[in-house]
Amino acid sequence: MIWEVFRQEKTGQYHTHCGNVHASDREMAKQFAAIQHGRRKPTNSLWVVPREEIGEIDSEDVAFGGTTDKSYRWATAYNTTGRDASEVVESEDEQATAERQRGDD
């Protein structure tokens, strides 16, 4: 049985997928995950999830958002002037990064 493993480095961060383990039950899966994925890299918590419990939908099945030009819904599309609040600047930077990663520009 295959268990997908999600690792969280520090309290409060996201659990992100880091690999999988082969184990007969949940207890064994947790032990293997701890050994294989929590031993070297800094780890606060691990999740193990049976692979068959994971639903997947991919870009073959559906057209995901974020690939067509919807510039009107990005902060970067609005050329306002003057000093913006720091949280607005931060949001715009995050959006600019996401926009660059969109891959069609």
């Binding site: 309290t11 409060g12 961060q13 996201y14 918590s45 919807k70 009107y72 819904r73 990005w74 902060a75 599309a77 609005y78 050329n79 306002t80 002037t81 003057g82 000093r83 913006d84 609040a85 720091s86 949280e87 607005v88 600047v89 931060e90 949001s91 715009e92 995050e94 959006q95 996401a98």
Partner: protein, 313 residues
């Protein structure tokens, strides 16, 4: 975990659903996040009519994207609230419909004209974003994670709102005048967004002691005024004489609390403000109109065959 331990451990993103948290914490966090979730939903309903009334196709696209975002924020926040185990999502939505759910003061006021839209989309969203940015460090991890996504999206709302304001204030004399009038009407409400001053705030101390709230009402109000008064002036808006706002020597602001209508504020806080009831009942009607969708999804076959309810707008 007892309350003392929770207070000792309290830090950014410290607590997750895996922790056994004291009831006081879970209740306070539920109250705060439910209020936030309700506000996202009620704000979206307030702005929704302006998708139809938008003066151009660009504004229409942006406004519908924004309203869609706000509804999404509500969904994220109900999840963060329900993960505390105090109230279910259905209970929170029903409470909002029957008038028991509390939400932001600004969203109790009717909004009738396009010139009012930047009052919400620039000033209120700007105020909200200031607060939300600090909540990325709240102690309830699911709330902080919701804030990551909300803040990512919210920058567009604020800048779009600012763009509308810039356009109106460089438009005709009449547009400028109507925008100034809308600003004068909304300005005191926007100041009250941050709630009463620290010494009169009833929930702050506990929420701060367990790391739920990161900054006090006064700190947030100051930070907002510091950023948004210069912006308002830059676009040619005149700051109303009241409430009187004095800049202290250290650059922070002092608001003359007595110049604000606190009777109205607390009437609103109790959901007793007459014009606000239309907002609450309007959303209730929309919730009822799409009850058949929920029933169908939940698999209640009998609901699909009954009378055809009016589609939600």
């Amino acid at each position: 975990m007892d309350l003392e331990t929770a207070k000792e451990r309290a830090g950014p993103r410290e607590f997750s659903p895996a922790d056994d948290l004291p009831e006081e914490y879970r209740k306070a966090a539920t109250r705060m996040i439910e209020f936030h979730a309700n506000s996202e939903i009620m704000g979206a309903y307030l702005e929704r009519p302006f998708i139809r009334q938008a003066p151009s196709i660009d504004r229409k696209l942006a406004f519908s994207a924004k309203v869609q975002d706000e509804i999404g924020h509500g969904q994220l926040l109900y999840r963060a609230a329900e993960s505390l185990g105090v109230k279910t999502r259905e209970e929170m939505l029903d409470d909002l419909a029957n008038g028991d759910g509390k939400f932001l003061n600004c969203f109790h006021y009717p909004m009738e004209s396009w010139v009012e839209t930047p009052m919400i989309a620039f000033f209120v969203d700007g105020a909200a974003m200031r607060r939300q940015a600090t909540l990325r460090r709240t102690s309830w991890e699911p709330y902080a994670h919701a804030m990551d996504k909300v803040c990512f999206e919210e920058g567009f709302h604020v800048k779009h709102g600012e763009d509308i304001l810039a356009e109106l204030m460089s438009g005709s004399k009449k547009e400028q005048q109507l925008t100034q009038e809308a600003f004068e009407e909304w300005w005191p409400r926007i100041i009250q967004f941050f709630g009463p001053t620290d010494d009169k705030s009833t929930h702050h101390d506990f929420a701060a002691s367990v790391g739920l709230k990161q900054q006090s009402n006064d700190q947030l109000r100051n930070a907002f005024l510091d950023q948004y008064i210069p912006k308002a002036r830059k676009y040619g808006l005149e700051i109303p004489d009241e409430p009187r706002i004095r800049e202290r020597d250290d650059g922070t602001y002092e608001v003359e609390e007595d110049d604000l209508d606190w009777d109205e504020f607390f009437t609103i806080a109790k959901n007793d403000y007459e014009p606000g009831l239309d907002q609450i009942n309007g959303r209730k009607a929309a919730q009822e109109a799409v009850q058949w969708v929920r029933d169908t999804i939940e698999g209640d076959a009998s609901a699909a065959g009954g009378h055809a309810p009016q589609a939600a707008d």
